[in-house]
Symmetry: C2
Amino acid sequence: METIKPSQNSPIGIFDSGLGGLTVLKSLETILPNESFIYFGDTAHVPYGTKSAETVIRYSQHIMDFFQKHETKAVVIACNTASAVAFQHLQQLYNIPLFDVVTPSVEFAINHTKNKNIGVVGTFSTIYSNAYTKMFQKLGSGCNVKEIACPLFVPIIEEGWANTDIAENIAKTYLNEFQNINIDTLILGCTHYPIMVNTIQKVLSSQINLVYSGKTVGIKLKDYLKKQNYENSSLSSQPVKYFVTDFPQKFDELGSRFLGRQLNNVVHISII
Amino acid sequence: METIKPSQNSPIGIFDSGLGGLTVLKSLETILPNESFIYFGDTAHVPYGTKSAETVIRYSQHIMDFFQKHETKAVVIACNTASAVAFQHLQQLYNIPLFDVVTPSVEFAINHTKNKNIGVVGTFSTIYSNAYTKMFQKLGSGCNVKEIACPLFVPIIEEGWANTDIAENIAKTYLNEFQNINIDTLILGCTHYPIMVNTIQKVLSSQINLVYSGKTVGIKLKDYLKKQNYENSSLSSQPVKYFVTDFPQKFDELGSRFLGRQLNNVVHISII
């Protein structure tokens, strides 16, 4: 397939290991209503979190090649694992403006915290990688950062129990420690977590500001497009195109739960 | 490597997609104290439940080739997915006595139920495959079988929360339906589930008989070895040898939780 040179009216690519990144798509659609999007869910290889860095980089490169052939003017890595282990590598390899989900949330937290006590929640692999703490250190923030893994959040969300008493008790157990260290900001370091935000907010002090990667990367992307004069100039956006590498169990149910509407135009491809 | 012909003092092979099968090993050690065992955990490919039948069969064949080269006199497929999709195929291909975990539990339930109302719990993929219901039908049992998927049991066990109030509430939610249909037997159709048996028993009537695949396959294997005059004749068993294809996060913690002791002699191999 011939590579098409992207223009300002070209779509923005979003990729994730699975369907969780649809929560990021949802935020981007709100923040950038005139833009068009292509979503790529590598559902045949989900989860990335348990795979080696080399493997995640290889998968991510295949997806970037796909986007390059599909006229995308920018790409958002809506996956915490790929953001943590593949972002820098991909930035060097591809001449497409590239956005990860770790950096914008850390920048947003630094700019909005008052007491510099920050919490981060994520999957075991994201927290174990220390990607967020390292980014706070890299940006020289002087913040106290506490990361807590919440491995049961993803399965309870996928079961459809995000707003149950069981979810609330699980959240209490995980998040209890944050109460003692007086955080004023909590980064949701997993694309699934916005689905259970009501439960998370319920068990925390209402003073704590929740940071969503969909929102923070959306603001950063909007700012970038404006500065580069690269905003979509057409009057309306094109419908989202979805590409997935497998149709897992509960695909339709999960997809509509994350996106808030039915997924249409879903194409199954095998590029890897 | 040269194939060694197995003898009655050769070890028994046990394989699973991961570490859950260690609960089966634990039962087999109790039922067959004079036997020696080799455990194979395909931890690089766990879980099998989300993979296609072709892929699971291919992985299982590699493991059977491995066992064939390692002088095993019999093999137990301690994995519900591989038992459901690969057992018959492997039986045709290999000249090693082969035992799955579905058949013995169904036979045991048929022989012990009084009211012929049977429940089965398992992962989403096991229940979705209908492997248990099909086996009850194949054996012409006339039992009423109700299968319920309990997708949160595995993550809550892996989190170490099997005996918490949260686990009890999750179990109540899943198992409530069994109370209405008056089952007298419940098959635990997942090798993880014996870890939370106290919680499961707590929320069910104490009259309900829980069926563990480790126990049922152990009884069947013991019977087979006796009839074939193929029991280990040495006075003591050899230490278990463990082979895994990857060292996942929490490997040691999970392994010792499933086995009830530390895993020693673990060899990491890459055969696939």
